[in-house]
Subunit: 227 residues, 2 copies
């Protein structure tokens, strides 16, 4: 209608990360008035089965729920789909099968931005499911880059705090410590590869170039949504 | 499923105000993890016909678009509806007719909070359509309170700036000046009765008790969504 495709957001993982994505997506449009904006349909569904439990074989797959959300957004008019949750990209193929609309891949967007920094070793702040699914290993290794994983216990604990609504100085210190440990271990760049991380970590608190997967998805979504 | 009804958001008026509402709604839930949150469906549709132009008789009614959004959200599973745009409440009856789900009235919520301050004269920072529809006049006058309207030109100019993405010190000064003028004219409390206003004005910048219509809608929505 107005130069934009309708954007469908497969969200709720977690809800605050989805709200952060929507806020930044709207800010990135840069329109002079309401009518210059794209239509955005959001399904913030916190009942999607847990990605980490599923990957451990201790819970149901999130695939069917994600596929149903994709179909619902498409039925409502979405012309492209974005999902601000890295770990859930382990089930992206089920979304691609469920909907005929293009799926904007967050992992591809963030890994591409990391490769563009010129760093050879990339620290990836991600939850267990993301690392165990080798979501970032594959594109980084294909580009000849090495992936450095953070302290899994520290990330698990931090993500849990952020999901509980804690985004103050204390979790911010924890996030900074994780980034600093990756840099000390040789990372030339760090990816916030979990959408809870940018809620407590930004470039200013990271000693090496910082790739924010939410920001990367915003850029890729805006580019794909322009007619 | 988990103690919450599914919330449908009739949004996009404007898009940043809808993102602000979603962010505050999620923060107000206060859950320990994702699964403690309600499902939230958002239709951020910036193509809803302009409320001010419609009220002036210079453009189509937003009613049919709002009704279609309500039906779409209900079809997707929404069990209650909220609309973070005050002016669009002038067409709330068309939403109530279109959907069987409860509609949480933002004007009623904000006017109720204003009456609870004990102030006798209430400054209402709102756009032309809201004032011309007498959306706030009716509940305030029914409670024996007087409505003080702001400088319409100043509000029009400020809302336009916020819709264009300007939320820095300069529009914040304009917003504070509007609130101060209302207080100087005798307002004992001020309602931010346009969802763009809280993006540039908060209680700290208002010399009298400040009612944020977005916050009032968040509270009313959370209360109605609990099973």
């Amino acid at each position: 209608v107005n130069g934009w495709r309708t954007i469908g957001v497969i969200g709720g993982m977690g809800p605050a990360a989805t709200a952060d994505f929507l806020t930044r997506l709207v800010a990135a449009v840069g329109a002079a008035d309401d009518r210059g904006h794209p239509r955005i349909l959001v399904d913030s569904n916190p009942q999607v089965p847990d990605r980490n439990a599923a990957r451990r074989g201790e819970g149901p797959s999130p695939g069917p729920a994600l596929a149903a959300m994709a179909r619902g957004l498409e039925a409502q008019g979405a012309e492209l789909l974005a999902m601000p949750c890295n770990a859930a990209h382990g089930w992206a193929d089920e979304i691609r099968t469920a909907s005929r609309q293009p799926f904007i891949d967050m992992v591809e967007a963030a890994a591409g931005e990391a490769a563009a920094t010129g760093a050879r070793r990339i620290g990836v702040i991600a939850v267990d499911a993301t690392l165990e699914s080798r979501l970032y290993h594959r594109p980084l290794e294909a580009a000849g880059l090495a992936l450095l994983a953070p302290d899994a216990t520290a990330v698990r604990r931090l993500v849990q705090r952020v999901k509980a609504g804690e985004t103050g100085p204390d979790p911010r210190r924890e996030a900074r410590a994780i980034a600093e440990a990756l840099a000390a271990a040789g990372a030339g760049a760090v990816i916030a590869a979990c959408t809870e991380i940018p809620l407590v970590l930004d470039a200013g608190a990271c000693p090496v170039p910082f790739i924010d997967s939410t920001a990367a998805l915003v850029r890729a979504t805006i580019a794909a949504a322009r007619r």
